[in-house]
């Protein structure tokens, strides 16, 4: 197997050689086991390998010494290795936690710097509700004017801070530069001096830096000449303090806090005070911690002992770990010792009088930062469990019924840890505790606990009032240790209570928004959906006017982050309350003269509305476009860009309608394209790209030509983002009807291939995808040959990633367009290059496999000449060492089998079949599955009789493979076996089929439904082939097993066997089995009957009298499942025999079904109602009505309810037919109840 076989003869030789070598191997294996009398015999050769034994023992001493020495050396070396290992573990241990992967990640851990800015916002205090009935704000309420003023001051302050920072930075730079110059001068002087007194070493008196630099030799001057690298802001570890502050609001300095608070004394409340605690210092070190800048509802004011909540995750981790160790290493108590030591033979000695136990309170306090013990300085450990836990620093709750508390929760739930008498608390405190308990249950409790707590908090929402609720929920949501699930529950709480509170939430809208808005930019899709839902509910509860007045101050915030999430929130409000209601506001904002930020946000809102609502913007398209259009001429470049992006989003949502709305922006966009550069240009191009597909063909053609100049110019842009946009626009432009093929071929393609089809583009995943997409779109216009001929040479490129991209494009083009227009020469080139690319691949994935498959299938019969070569490659790769290669080769066989058959290459296929058969001993399940799949596709196209290897050899090889537990193997194997059982059962002996039957039972356990279904069907085929008796016996035995899934599948199999071999062959045995006094078996039989009657339909009329006694017995059984299953069987049976005159038997059965109508178990009652429904169809409604009339006016309500339910089903099913069967009534009390029209006689 040194070279790849190329011709048919070579392949046959190859196959023959392979078979021979296998036979030989088997033979030699056989020989090796025998040992001839005279020879020494290869004892244990296979155990120890052939070379590892010394055949003689050396007698030379020095050799032995030598050995000792080397042994010793080896030993010491090996201990060194152990040491190294230990060291490495120890080193690692300090830096990384080996369990880090398995730990739950908090939301905070995965957020980007941008998203983390949410911690910098403040949960703002309540605001006055101007829409309330008594609209006069109370003196301490914050009104709209207050808020606007505050936000203005804040913005101004931020701007000033930025300016100050910039100035400081500049000064710093200046200073640095000066210093450097000085140093440079000094250096030069030194050098001069050095040159003057060459031999004398000299010490520099200056700073450490200069010392180091001078001592390191002569090359120094050049180092100083280079511009000093100043750490850029955002460049990571080396960033200085000042740089850090360059990014706004990342660090919370004193100045960043709202100044208004200090002035009024309202905001500067107890929250700002640093908690007095040892841990407090640690907190202060981490500057942007939410707890410090946001007013916690309860946390900081209460002197929580350890301030667990105020620690960084790292610290918390460490403390938790320490506690864990402490708990394990805690001193043994007397009880512990009593338990461990035998009671007899030991005496407990009194400690000597002089003994003083070592008590180091300081250390105790340190290791157990529980406040209770900490405040006292020292406490005698109590013996009860709770005290022990608290001694170890684990938070404990006074109330035992509450779920356990995590250390991080301590800050929030501190009050629950104190044991107080609730009766003595005032109403507010009691309320607070109640809410806290409910929240804790929701956050940490078990599902049932959570459910009841959620219901309670919802029911009592109005009673608690919005203030106390939100004051607790919102800080919890801002907690940095929050996990996804916890957040989900808390958000759910808000959602539920919003409904209840309704307009009471108005003062808290901004508070809630601050916490919920960040969900809108979460990376998790469901978080975004949740956030949207909350905001839209909030909007519905609070109303548009208060939403606008609350969010208005954020619109021109200096902070881009705040503006971004506010825009998104506004879009959600628009979708909740309707776009028209928001239009006047948007119009005003987008024209704001005061600040460009407001205009920017306004336009961004429009963009987000388009993204969020899709085609729902269509009715308001003209208005929306009108609102943003002036942004294209704005002075601020950012506003221009966002306007173009908003137009792009609008056009995308409106497609394919609404071009007339964009008329007035076409010209500005077009002019913009020739004026703008870089980012703005990209946005403008994007807008044009989305608008062109909406145009009619002529206009599209015109604009495409106009834009193309710029596009082609930008083809060479090095910017990745620009490339992607350009590609997208090219795709959109060329996809329209108006652009003709000749234009694309002559004007676009040359540049397109020159700039885009290169190795660089294949490196980035998204570029790659966009390029392939655009290429396919272009190919749709210019045709496959044009494109393929340009691409085909690149298949021989030396870069594999690039080759894959080419294959991917060719694959998609040929799948779309077929290969009918590809000429002989191109076809040859294509096949050869494909083969080259296929053989040269080093990492096997689906791209090349799919590509090769589509090329072969597209060419169809024209592949004939290349098939030997392809098969040679497959054979060669099937023998490869790497499992992936083998798997891919087998997969390729299944893709091209149909084409090979079309080409009439039966011989080649047989060769492949034989080789695949040889490889059935494959170890890797993935590969084995593919090989089985390949064999299956070969069998499918060749047919049973012509298959090589013959089916009678193939099937016995498959029997043991059925035992394989791997899903892919199972599925392919059962498919193949089922195929053979279906089409060619006569090639295999019945005995073999029986053996397979037994193996199949195991397959019923498979998790995958497709496998179970294939198995059950195979039973049918086998039963058809060898007669049902043996198969049935096997299956009936299987009814005795415990597992439900197995029994269910078995009953289905029995029903299928009965269906394929006609029921009379199976029913006697099946009914006989019902006599086995075992619940599972009897139920299995009933279930089989149910499936059986479902499958055979009207054939059931011949068997109904046979099974009636059995069903009658089952319907009288004590076991509810018996009755249930029998009812299901009756349903199927009665529906099958409708109209065949079996009413007598069915009426008989109805008499046994009817008493079950009062069942309460849902499964049973459903089955009973179904059976009655089936019988209604078969017997007609009159019979059922006459049964029903008995109970419609029964004195007991329970009875009436059931009867009316049956009556309703009956009535809806046969309303018209019932007219004839209603009982006749006499008139009473002057009411005419007789239906006189029915008494007419002619």
């Amino acid at each position: 197997m040194s070279s790849i076989a190329k011709t048919r003869d070579e392949i046959e030789d190859e196959v023959a050689r392979m078979q021979a070598s296998r036979a030989q191997a088997a033979q030699s294996a056989d020989n090796a086991n025998r040992v001839s009398m005279a020879s020494a015999g290869g004892y244990d050769g296979d155990v120890a390998g052939s070379q590892s034994f010394a055949t003689s023992i050396s007698t030379m001493d020095e050799d032995a010494d030598d050995d000792d020495a080397s042994n010793f050396e080896r030993a010491s070396r090996s201990t060194g290795a152990v040491q190294r290992l230990v060291d490495s573990v120890r080193l690692q241990g300090e830096e990384q936690d080996p369990f880090a992967d398995s730990k739950k990640k908090t939301i905070r851990d995965r957020e980007s710097d941008y998203q983390l800015q949410r911690f910098n916002r403040m949960i703002s205090p309540e605001r006055a509700d101007p829409f309330a009935a008594d609209a006069t704000p109370r003196p301490h309420d914050r009104t709209y004017a207050d808020v606007m003023q505050d936000s203005m001051v804040e913005n101004e302050q931020k701007l000033v801070m930025r300016k100050i920072q910039q100035k400081q930075r500049e000064e710093e730079e200046k200073k640095k530069e000066e210093e450097q110059q000085q140093q440079q001068q000094q250096q030069q002087q030194q050098q001069q001096r050095q040159e003057a007194q060459k031999e004398q070493p000299q010490a520099t008196p200056d700073s450490g830096v200069t010392t180091a630099s001078t001592s390191s030799g002569t090359g120094m001057a050049s180092r100083w000449d280079a511009t000093p690298v100043r750490p850029e802001s955002g460049s990571g570890a080396g960033a200085s303090r000042w740089d850090d502050e360059g990014t706004p609001a990342r660090k919370k300095s004193r100045w960043d806090q709202t100044p208004a608070a200090a002035g009024t004394g309202r905001r500067r409340s107890r929250w700002d005070e640093t908690p007095k605690d040892a841990m407090g210092a640690a907190t202060a070190a981490t500057p942007n911690f939410a707890a410090m800048s946001t007013p916690m509802a309860m946390g900081m004011a209460t002197p929580t002992p350890g301030q667990m909540g105020a620690m960084t995750p790292d610290q918390r981790q460490r403390v938790r770990w320490e506690k864990d160790m402490d708990e394990r290493n805690r001193p043994l108590s007397d009880e512990d010792l009593d338990m461990m030591l035998p009671t007899e033979g030991f005496k407990i000695l009194e400690p000597p009088a002089s003994y003083q136990p070592i008590r180091t309170p300081s250390r105790r306090i340190y290791s157990t930062p529980t406040p209770m013990s900490g405040m006292a300085g020292f406490s005698i450990p109590l013996e009860d469990k709770a005290a022990k836990a608290s001694d170890l620093g684990l938070p404990t709750l006074a109330d035992e019924s509450l779920p356990s508390l995590k250390p991080e929760d301590e800050a929030h739930f501190a009050k629950l840890m104190q044991d107080v008498d609730e009766g003595q608390l005032d109403a507010d405190a009691r309320k607070e505790r109640a809410i806290m308990k409910l929240l804790l249950r929701i956050k940490n409790g078990t599902p049932p606990m959570r459910k009841t707590a959620l219901r309670q908090i919802t029911d009592k929402a109005r009673e608690f009032g919005p203030g106390p609720l939100f004051n607790q929920i919102l800080p919890l949501l801002m907690s940095p240790s929050l996990e996804d699930q916890e957040r989900h529950f808390l958000v759910k709480v808000i959602d539920r209570i919003l409904y209840k509170l309704d307009d009471l939430v108005r003062p808290y809208v901004h508070k809630i928004l601050v916490v919920i808005e960040p969900l809108l930019i979460d990376e998790d899709y469901y978080a975004r959906v949740e956030g949207r839902e909350i905001i839209s509910n909030l909007a519905k509860a609070a109303g548009l006017a208060s939403m606008i007045s609350v969010m208005r101050p954020d619109i021109d915030n200096v902070d881009e982050y705040v503006r971004n999430i506010t825009a998104r929130a506004f879009a959600v409000v628009a979708s909740a309350l309707g776009i028209p209601s928001l239009l006047p506001f948007l119009k005003a904002v987008c024209r704001s003269k005061k600040s460009w930020q407001a205009r920017h946000t306004g336009i961004k809102i429009v963009q987000q509305i388009a993204v969020l609502m899709g085609c729902a913007v269509l009715p308001h398209l003209r208005n929306l476009v009108k609102i943003v259009e002036h942004g294209l001429q704005d002075n601020e470049p950012k506003v221009k860009t966002i306007t173009a992006l908003a137009l792009a989003a609008l056009a995308e949502s409106a497609a394919p309608y609404g071009i007339e709305s964009f008329d007035q922006v076409l010209l500005p966009l077009y002019h913009g394209i020739s004026q703008q550069r870089s980012k703005a240009l990209a946005a403008f191009l994007k807008a044009i790209g989305f608008i062109i597909p909406l145009m009619d063909p002529d206009a599209a053609n015109y604009y495409t030509r106009e834009v193309m100049g710029v596009l082609i110019r930008e083809f060479q842009s090095p910017d990745d983002e620009m490339k992607k946009i350009v590609l997208k626009v090219v795709k959109q432009c060329c996809g329209t009807d108006g652009v003709d093929a000749a234009y694309i071929r002559d004007e676009i393609l040359p540049h397109f291939f020159k700039h885009f089809w290169n190795v660089r583009m294949s490196l980035d995943r998204r570029n790659y995808a966009q390029l392939v997409e655009t290429t396919v779109e272009l190919a749709n216009k210019v045709g496959a040959p044009e494109m393929v001929s340009r691409l085909v040479n690149d298949l021989n490129d030396e870069n594999e990633g690039y080759r894959k991209m080419v294959v991917d494009a060719i694959d998609k083009i040929l799948r779309n367009l077929g290969a009918a227009d590809i000429d002989k020469e191109l076809e040859r080139q294509l096949m050869e290059s494909m083969l080259f690319a296929f053989q040269e691949q080093t990492t096997e994935d689906d791209v090349l496999l799919n590509g090769f498959g589509s090329v072969v299938n597209a060419l169809g019969k024209r592949t004939r000449d290349y098939l030997p070569q392809i098969c040679g490659t497959i054979l060669w790769r099937l023998n490869n060492k790497s499992a992936k290669v083998r798997q891919q080769a087998a997969d390729l066989v299944s893709r091209i089998a149909v084409v090979m058959n079309d080409c009439g290459e039966i011989k080649l296929m047989n060769n492949l079949g034989v080789v695949l058969y040889e490889y059935l001993g494959e170890e890797y399940p993935e590969v084995l599955g593919s090989i089985l799949g390949a064999l299956k596709s070969l069998v499918n196209v060749i047919g049973m009789e012509r298959m090589q290897p013959p089916v009678k050899d193939l099937l016995p090889r498959l029997t043991p493979i059925l035992k394989n537990r791997h899903e892919k193997v199972q599925e392919n194997c059962i498919d193949l076996v089922g195929r053979i059982a279906d089409r060619g059962p006569e090639y295999v002996s019945p005995k073999e089929w029986m053996r397979i039957c037994f193996e199949l039972l195991e397959l019923l356990k498979a998790h995958k439904k497709a496998i179970r279904r294939a198995t059950v069907n195979t039973f049918g085929y086998i039963a058809k082939a060898i007669g049902p008796q043996d198969v049935l016996a096997t299956l009936l035995n299987n009814l005795k097993v415990q597992e439900r899934q197995l029994r269910v599948c078995t009953t289905v199999a029995i029903a299928i066997v009965a269906e394929t071999c006609s029921p009379f062959t199976v029913l006697p045995g099946l009914m006989n089995e019902y006599r086995v006094p075992e619940l599972n078996v009897q139920n299995g039989v009933l279930k089989s009957l149910s499936f059986l009657f479902e499958y055979i339909g009207e054939m059931g009329k011949d068997y109904i009298y046979a099974v009636t006694p059995l069903l009658q017995d089952a319907l009288m059984d004590r076991d509810a499942v018996h009755r249930q299953t029998a009812c299901t069987a009756i349903k199927h049976m009665s529906l099958g025999v409708y109209g065949f005159g079996n009413e007598d038997a069915l009426t008989h059965l109805l008499n046994f079904v009817w008493p079950n109508i009062f069942e309460t178990s849902p499964h049973v009652i459903n089955a009973v109602m179904d059976a009655i429904g089936g019988l209604r169809v078969a017997l007609g409604p009159s019979r059922i009505l006459s049964y029903t009339l008995q109970g419609l006016f029964h004195p007991a309500r329970k009875v009436r309810q059931v009867y009316w339910k049956i009556y309703n089903t009956l009535y809806i099913g046969c309303q018209d037919a019932l007219v004839a069967y209603y009982p006749s009534f006499d008139d009473e009390n002057k009411r005419s109840y007789r239906r006189r029209e029915l008494e007419y006689v002619l």
């Binding site: 849902p1162 419609l1192 309500r1197 309703n1208 009535y1211 018209d1216 007219v1219 009390n1229 029209e1237 007419y1240």
Partner: protein
Amino acid sequence: MAESRYNIHSQQEHLQSKYMGTGHADTTKHEWVTNQHRDTYTSMIGHEGLMDYVSIAENESRERTRFNLLQRMISPCGPPVKKADAE
């Protein structure tokens, strides 16, 4: 599982209750019979043959009969029985 079954059940009941003519445990005889009458008239109007039969018996034109039947549907059994009446 069981719960969802229950739900399906209650859904079914809810669905049925939306149809005119269905009943429940508190349906009175008067309501029930009224519905029967209306169904009967509907059936007569709907079936060609029955329509002919009734119009011959009443000696009216088909259209007049149809109109009469529709009129009779308004209150086929007279005014509803008062609570005291029924008990």
